[in-house]
């Protein structure tokens, strides 16, 4: 029997040049791709600004305060769509915040067994997975007919309030706000739930030990402690609501008139873009890009604020 021949290790061999180069190359490559994320963000801002430049020069800041949108006379202002974006988002928050907060509390405390809670949490997450355009389709055929009676009732009983001063036209601010609320509910619920779950258990134990009931603990201890996290989540939801496009475009009626009534058709920046971009040319493209730039800045500010608030909370309890 012949013994297998091993090559005898003599000294530690120095590593091959090729592998050394591969190592440096790979490191460098991952570094460049990591930096490219920031560059993409800058590139987005740059491209949109360049395309909007003719309109920025032509209309200046007056663009933000002019509510005319007239492709025939090439006169553009974004006041109506900016107001529409803000009003629809705030309306959505007014509906979604109480519901989302209630749901988050219900799912973070032990009201029901854990395995049922896991399924319910998953179901709430699924709400966010349904494509926007499907909500739009559903909204046209189900939601609008469903809330029309509510619109008529609001108009006939509360018509003296400017918010309800017109007869519902079908599509309008109200159905758009409702569908937006449905779409941002999962974000609010998820982040509020995370903030509540991240609280140290001692807070809860101390409060219960002092004789507070479960709901007194929730209202006086847990919600105040998680408050900034919850606010951060609401900000993120606001950013999402301002940029949400398809469902709103299909339900808001796409009218560039300013109206105080929630029952009238309106428009948002994103639905204006969705509606007009494909057929626009010349100055209209620049004006649409300008409106897009405004939307981008609005969501950027909201998202950066949200990011800071959420991070601050993470730091507090980690």
């Amino acid at each position: 029997m012949v013994a297998p021949s091993y090559s005898r290790p003599t000294a530690l061999q120095s590593r091959s040049v090729l592998e050394k180069n591969l190592e440096t190359g790979f490191r460098g490559l991952t570094f460049i791709f990591a930096l490219s994320i920031g560059l993409i963000l800058l590139l987005i801002a740059l491209v949109v600004t360049i395309r909007a430049w003719p309109a920025i020069v032509e209309y200046n800041v007056g663009f933000l305060f002019n509510n005319l949108w007239d492709p025939v006379k090439n006169n553009y202002g974004a006041l109506a769509v900016i107001v529409g974006t803000l009003v629809s988002s705030v309306l959505a928050l007014l509906i979604a915040v109480p519901l989302g907060l209630g749901t988050a509390i219900f799912l973070s405390e032990d009201f029901i067994p854990l395995n049922i809670r896991i399924i319910l949490v998953f179901l709430v997450e699924l709400l966010a997975a349904i494509p926007s355009v499907v909500y739009g389709l559903w909204g046209i055929f189900v939601l609008i007919p469903l809330i029309r009676p509510l619109g008529f009732w609001l108009n006939s009983t509360l018509g003296w309030i400017p918010l309800f001063s017109s007869k519902p036209a079908g599509p309008g601010m109200l159905p758009a706000g409702v569908v937006l609320a449905i779409m941002i509910l999962p974000i609010i619920t998820a982040i509020a739930r995370d903030s509540l779950a991240a609280l140290p258990p001692e807070l809860r134990q101390a409060s219960l030990g002092l004789g507070a009931t479960r709901w007194e603990t929730i209202f006086r201890v847990l919600v105040p402690a998680a408050f900034s996290g919850i606010v951060g989540g609401i900000m993120l939801a606001l950013g999402r609501a301002m940029g949400e496009t398809m469902a709103v475009t299909m339900l808001i009626g796409n009218s560039n008139k300013l109206s105080a009534s929630l029952l009238d058709p309106a428009n948002t920046i994103s639905s204006l873009l969705a509606n007009q971009f494909a057929e626009a040319s010349g100055m209209q493209v620049a004006a649409l890009m300008y409106a897009g730039l405004v939307l981008m800045l609005l969501t950027l500010v909201v998202n950066i604020l949200a990011e800071f608030i959420v991070n601050k909370v993470k730091a507090k309890y980690s």
Binding site: F26, V134, G136, L137, T213, W215, R240, M246, A274, G292
Partner: protein
Amino acid sequence: MTVANLKKQPSSPRTLLGLLMTGVAGACLLLTLIPLFAVLIYVTVQGISRINLDLFTKLPPPPGLSGGGVANAIIGTLIVVVIAVAIAVPIGVLAAIYLSEFSDDNQIARGVRFATNILSGVPSIIAGIFAYGLFVASGILGFSAIAGGAALAVLMLPTIIRTTDEALQIVPQDIRWAALGVGAYKFQTVLFIVLPAALPSILTGVTLAIARAAGETAPLIFTALFSNFWPKGVKEPIATLAVLVYNFATVPFAPQQQLAWAASLILVFLVLATSVGARLATRRKSF
């Protein structure tokens, strides 16, 4: 104070208020979940009657006529998503490898993570006008599947980076030390040891990003545009399911509206299948 007072008083205002609040919170949950089931049930009921072989093999009929299918939009969605994946996965995975393996959590890594979060907050329609401005308005490409895919890639990037970053960090440190201990370079450790170990979670993240991108409409309506015919190539306008739903939802013809419902059902089924599948796949993950 007597001992009896320490017992829960079923009729005290505090107990009743607690019960009431529990009811209110439960009602909030119900109200939140009603739209989910309302959409799922309505889409299924409206779409299921239109599910047949023609739907998956034929072109949409001319306006007002019935029959036909959405085959071109199914293929188009596939093409656009494949382009988006081809752009977003290499960028996202390599960026995440830097964050998790090479950065030592330095200032740059924190900046990149911040930029990723900000990018995930960029509205999808902005990704659309970005791709339009970069490719279409500049005349490089025109309305095309590539421009649409690039817009979707921007939206997929944050998800892919985040899930890959997390997946890599879950891989136990011992495995890296073992590889380095037998003399492997860092790049060999990452490519042949850490990445394969994290692959299932990375694939789950990519799948979820794909499901999300397949349902995106806003960035496609002025990049990929739409076409009533079979896809001609990646440099031509192309039909997608999501844009088909948008276009056909608003026309006054019943057969087209039915196609929109059927296409919605396909989209929703796709999203649900991937979400549930990803959930089950990650649950079994262990080291």
